[in-house]
């Protein structure tokens, strides 16, 4: 049995305690009567005891039943299989309301009504036709689908209220998840499983909401009592046009401001940012222009003046990219919290994806540690320079270079030291102890970058085992170097530009003169390892990969835009940076290679924390919670979001926005951005037959056969109400229950009078 108003029934259930409490309280209150003839009273009670107890229990039971039944009658019970009494069994209706990004589309820029508003109205009309014995459920489709009311409830009024409160998300439409949830609910609720169940799917079925190329799960296919009522897809003439910002890609994920930048003295360094746009809908066939405004926002709530870029759309053009310079000067640069690039376009039919936020790191300077023994005495002849000397020269060729080099003794690699540097170069790995490799692993896990090259003086490289084991690397190293007596050139054709994008154009010409005479090449390099430079014999020469074991995968988005937990980066040079191994240190490639590797590598290692709506967002290392940031950059009064130890938020983020992460001590850890799922914003109308086939396949009636006609029907939004005819007008149990209450109340009065023995002579 279920109830139309379960709360009232619960109240009745709780009220049973009232007569019991009165009964118990009355027991406590009376003062004892001191009685002389107690032996006769005990004897009399002993004779009457059984009868008195029965009387008391009967009276108490009658009183409790009266209270309970009043609550139950008011709660309007509905018994499963009530058809035996009323002739019509109750039905179950689930409203599947599309609250994905496309549901906020307005037809025409001035339209007030969104797609979601229309669907809500349709849902209301449908629910108003339900009878008292019917039940309604609600599933919101904004990814991940949330079963707001499931199993279905008899409290239709509450479902209506929840529909009223539904708002569009910036995530995709998760119809597959909704089907799975409902199938699970029907499996668990045996009573509902037997009732006729109608799923009312209300969506515009834009390409962003319903990608027919992705088949739906067959979880509802075996349920013949489940019927699907579907709103008709939006026609081509009614579809909304949408332009969206799909990406913001700065050339450097990390900005080094230098001393002048930190002081805010106006070093208005202009960074180039690539902004990608995409458009969909009927306007794709037209030529138009879109203005992109880009601004940098810092943690100190200071924004840089916006820069503008203009995209001129050609007819039929869907995607475009524009490079916009942004001035990240002054207060917008905040080395504590980083900076956020905010790209924005004019308001259109779908406002949710008109803004894209991209956090980037900001540092006054990069601190690079070089693990090598200190050398005493100055010997500046080139053939006497060791690997560490070459690295120091490459890292800081001029005093103005914003990279600080820190010398680290191999025997003093400790946690405080590692915490003070961003990148560690290890040109003498044979001097590093096993336990120090474990420390370096923690350093990398926390977002640091480690660059390792073979020990220049060693003939047998025994350190490789400890390194690959502790760092959990997916490749291994040989113990003896490969000699190239004739010298081996670096392949200028197969260079990866992911980490070296800024020197990509010059890289082939820079690589060409480099000759390698000795190398400890990596073995077993898989696809998860990025090969930056290779030798001409095909062996990898410079590779980069993330530590393997203990890594938590996230849902990264785009190159460098990973929101996963790939903290840290390990780069391996197969040759020691000394002239005995390669002439690279003396070539022009050395400085830009080391500089870019350090900057871009650390930028990638420390991460750029943004994700698309609909999934748990990844937060910087050691974050405990996210606090929303208002458009102005200040903290807003919105709800905080907890961050799990995995680094992901405890709940999926359905709305786009900007958050600031804080650690346990309340210190800001950086910005976290959630952007609208750009794929969900594709307002491309789809043919109804495609949608019908797609949904029919999910019901197991693929091909649109006779079964499909029975179980899937289009819903006319303008006249949806008659589709669901009202069933029984009222609960068949309320009136009988009230009659039982009346009879019980009279019985209680009689019993109370009789059992009190007040009339006894």
């Amino acid at each position: 049995m279920s109830f139309l108003h379960p709360i009232l029934f619960a109240a009745g259930l709780v009220s049973i305690g009232i007569p019991i409490a009165i009964h118990l309280l009355l027991r406590q209150r009376r003062r004892p009567v001191m009685w002389g003839a107690m032996r006769f009273l005990i004897e009399a009670y002993r004779r009457q005891r059984r009868r008195l107890r029965v009387e008391q229990w009967l009276l108490l039971a009658a009183r409790c039943l009266v209270v309970l039944l009043i609550g139950a009658a008011l709660a309007r019970p509905v018994l499963e299989g009530a058809g035996l009494l009323s002739g019509a069994p109750g039905r179950t209706v689930y409203i599947l309301l599309d609250t994905g990004l496309a549901s906020s589309a307005r037809e025409g820029a001035s339209a007030e009504e969104t797609a979601l508003d229309r669907h809500k109205k349709t849902a209301m009309d449908l629910l108003s036709t339900l009878g008292a014995s019917d039940r309604a459920g609600l599933v919101l489709l904004g990814a991940p689908a949330s079963a707001v009311v499931a199993p279905a409830s008899g409290d239709v009024a509450a479902v209506r209220r929840l529909i009223e409160e539904a708002s569009p998300t910036d995530a995709a439409t998760d119809l597959a998840g909704a089907f799975e949830r409902i199938a699970r609910v029907l499996d668990q609720d045996e009573a509902s499983g037997a009732r006729p169940t109608t799923l009312v799917l209300l969506s515009d079925f834009y390409l962003g909401s319903a990608d027919a190329a992705r088949p739906l799960p067959l979880s509802l296919a075996a349920r013949s009592n489940v019927r699907l009522l579907v709103s008709k897809p939006r026609g081509a003439g009614e579809a909304a046009s949408n332009v969206q910002v799909t990406g913001v890609e700065p050339l450097r994920p990390l900005i080094l401001t230098g001393a002048a930048g930190a002081s805010g003295a106006g070093a208005a360094e202009r960074e180039q940012v690539r902004v990608t746009l995409r458009r969909s809908g009927p306007a794709v066939g037209d030529s138009s222009a879109t203005t992109v405004r880009l601004r940098a926002m810092g943690g100190s709530q200071v924004e840089s003046p916006p820069s503008q870029g203009l995209v001129r759309w050609q007819p039929g053009q869907v995607e475009a990219m524009v490079a916009v310079p942004v001035s990240a000067a002054g207060g917008a640069r905040d080395s504590a919290t980083g900076m956020v690039l905010v790209a924005e376009i004019d308001r259109d039919a779908l406002p949710g994806d008109n803004v894209f936020r991209r956090p980037i790191g900001v540092r006054e300077s990069l601190r690079v540690g070089v693990v090598a023994r200190a050398r005493f005495g100055a010997d500046t002849s080139l053939d006497r320079l060791g690997p560490a000397d070459w690295l120091r020269l490459a890292l800081r060729p001029t005093p103005g270079t914003p990279i600080d080099v820190v010398d680290i003794e191999p025997t003093s690699i400790d946690t405080p030291t590692l915490a003070s540097v961003d990148v560690v170069f290890a040109p003498a790995p044979d001097l590093i102890r096993d336990e120090d490799w474990a420390r370096l692993r923690r350093f990398v896990d926390a977002g640091g970058m480690l660059v390792v090259s073979p020990a220049a003086e060693a003939t047998v490289h025994l350190w490789t085992d400890a390194m690959t084991r502790e760092l959990g690397l997916p490749w291994r190293l040989a113990r003896e170097p490969v000699q190239y007596p004739e010298g081996m050139g670096v392949d200028d054709q197969s260079v990866s530009t992911a980490l070296l994008s800024l020197i990509a154009s010059e890289l082939p010409s820079l690589v060409r003169p480099v000759v390698v005479s000795r190398a400890v090449p990596p073995e077993g390099v898989g696809p998860e390892t990025e090969v930056l430079l290779s030798l001409k014999d095909g062996s990898a020469w410079v590779i980069a990969s993330s530590p393997g074991a203990g890594r938590v995968e996230g849902s990264g988005e785009g190159a460098g835009g990973e929101s996963g937990q790939s903290h840290g980066l390990v780069v391996y040079f197969a040759s020691a940076p000394t002239l005995k191994w390669t002439d690279l240190p003396a070539k022009p490639l050395m400085v830009p290679l080391i500089q870019e590797l350090s900057r871009q590598g650390f930028g990638r290692a420390s991460g750029s924390w943004w994700s698309k709506a609909g999934v748990p967002a990844a937060a910087p290392f050691r974050s405990e919670q996210l606090r929303p940031v208002a458009a102005s950059g200040s903290e807003s009064g919105g709800e905080m979001v907890a961050v799990a130890p995995t680094g992901l938020t405890t709940e999926p983020m359905r709305k786009a926005g900007l958050w600031q992460s804080f650690d346990e001590g309340g210190r800001a850890r950086g910005f976290v951005a959630v952007n609208a799922d750009s794929d969900a914003g594709r307002t491309i109308p789809q043919d109804p037959s495609v949608i019908r086939g797609w949904l029919s396949a999910a019901l197991g009636t693929g091909g649109g056969g006779a079964g499909a006609g029975e179980r899937l029907a289009w819903l006319e939004e303008s006249d949806a109400a008659p589709v669901l005819a009202a069933s029984s007008a009222d609960s068949p149990f309320s009136v009988p229950m009230l009659l039982v209450v009346l009879v019980l109340a009279v019985a209680e009065l009689v019993m109370a009078r009789y059992f009190s023995h007040a009339f006894a002579r």
Partner: protein, 338 residues
């Protein structure tokens, strides 16, 4: 004359000549009196002053023989019946009675501490508690008032009086004596308070009989809330030793009527524990059990030829005293003839 069912009589001075003697036998009158001594005196004087209306006149002298009338004799003692039959004047001669040993046994068990009448209401003079500090006129108060009266009367006749106050055994006792200060000792013992233990009449009778070597009149003042079989055994022993017995069973009106209406916990005065009941629900069963017990006690006592008196705490003491006087005379007559 006031009957037991009447309302309490307004207070009048005991010294008033117009005072109704029976007033002295009412509990509410006795309740005004602070000491046992005073109570007993007033009870007895009340009985004596009302003697002209009492059927028990001449309790202190006994007929001995006739003798011929001689001039100067008091004509009040002429036997007119003999004169009617024989035309001869004979004078009735009376003998001074021999003394009698009276033994009073007063129950002071816990159940005797019950009473339903408020002392303040009973006294009517503003006194809220009895001299023992109780706010009620209890069965024990009634029993001690009666016992004191019996003792006072007996001592005035020159009888020896003994006293025992008991519960499950004799708690205090006074040996038989007719000495001048004996009255004071009896009053002191009667001022004992009831204890919270049940009574054990059989044991007490054994203790008492062990001290008695001649024939006595034993007066038992108790509510007899114990097993009838034990009462029977005790009385059998007494009768076996050829003692005379008067049984005064003292009960409270509330015990006889049980008119409580509110559900409440009832707690026994003899440690029976607490029982929460609706009194209306068990009233009929209780009255059935209680009355059956009273009847069995009465039947048992009468089966031994013992005088049985059921005395209510709201009742006056007249019938008890009258029974006592009658039984005393009968005992004396038997002892003289025997």
């Amino acid at each position: 004359m006031m009957t037991p069912g009447d309302a309490p009589t307004p207070v009048r001075s005991a010294a008033s000549s117009a005072v109704d003697a029976t007033l002295y036998l009412h509990p509410q009158t006795l309740a005004r009196l602070g000491t046992f001594e005073l109570r007993a005196k007033m009870i007895v004087e009340g009985v004596m002053s009302g003697m002209h209306r009492s059927p028990y006149k001449g309790f202190s002298v006994e007929f001995a023989q006739h003798r011929p009338y001689v001039k100067g004799d008091d004509t009040r003692h002429l036997d007119w019946k003999v004169f009617g039959r024989s035309d001869k004047l004979y004078l009735k001669q009376y003998e001074q009675e021999t003394s009698l040993d009276l033994v009073l046994l007063v129950d002071c068990s816990g159940s005797m501490n019950y009473g339903s009448r408020a002392f303040e209401e009973a006294s009517g003079v503003g006194r809220k508690t009895s001299p023992s500090g109780q706010p009620i006129w209890s069965k024990y108060d009634h029993a001690t008032a009666s016992a004191a009266a019996f003792a006072y009367m007996a001592l005035r006749q020159g009888d020896r009086v003994g006293l025992g106050v008991y519960a499950d055994s004799l708690i205090d006792a006074a040996d038989r004596s007719s000495a001048q200060g004996h009255w004071r000792r009896i009053v002191n013992i009667l001022s004992q308070h009831p204890v919270g233990r049940p009574s054990d009449l059989g044991h007490v009778i054994d203790q008492t009989l062990a001290k008695l070597n001649n024939r006595c009149l034993i007066v038992l003042l108790s509510d007899f809330f114990e097993d009838v079989s034990r009462i029977r055994t005790a009385l059998a022993r007494v009768r076996h030793r050829q003692h005379d017995v008067i049984v005064c069973q003292i009960v409270d009106r509330q015990e006889q009527e049980f008119t409580y209406t509110e559900t409440a916990p009832f707690e026994g005065l003899e440690g029976e524990g607490r029982l929460r009941i609706d009194p209306r629900a068990v009233r009929s069963a209780y009255l059935e059990v209680f009355n059956a017990h009273l009847e069995r006690v009465e039947k048992t006592t009468r089966s031994f030829g013992v005088d049985y008196l059921r005395v209510g705490t709201h009742d006056w003491l007249g019938p008890g005293l009258a029974a006592f006087v009658a039984r005393r005379n009968a005992v004396l007559k038997r002892s003289k003839s025997g």
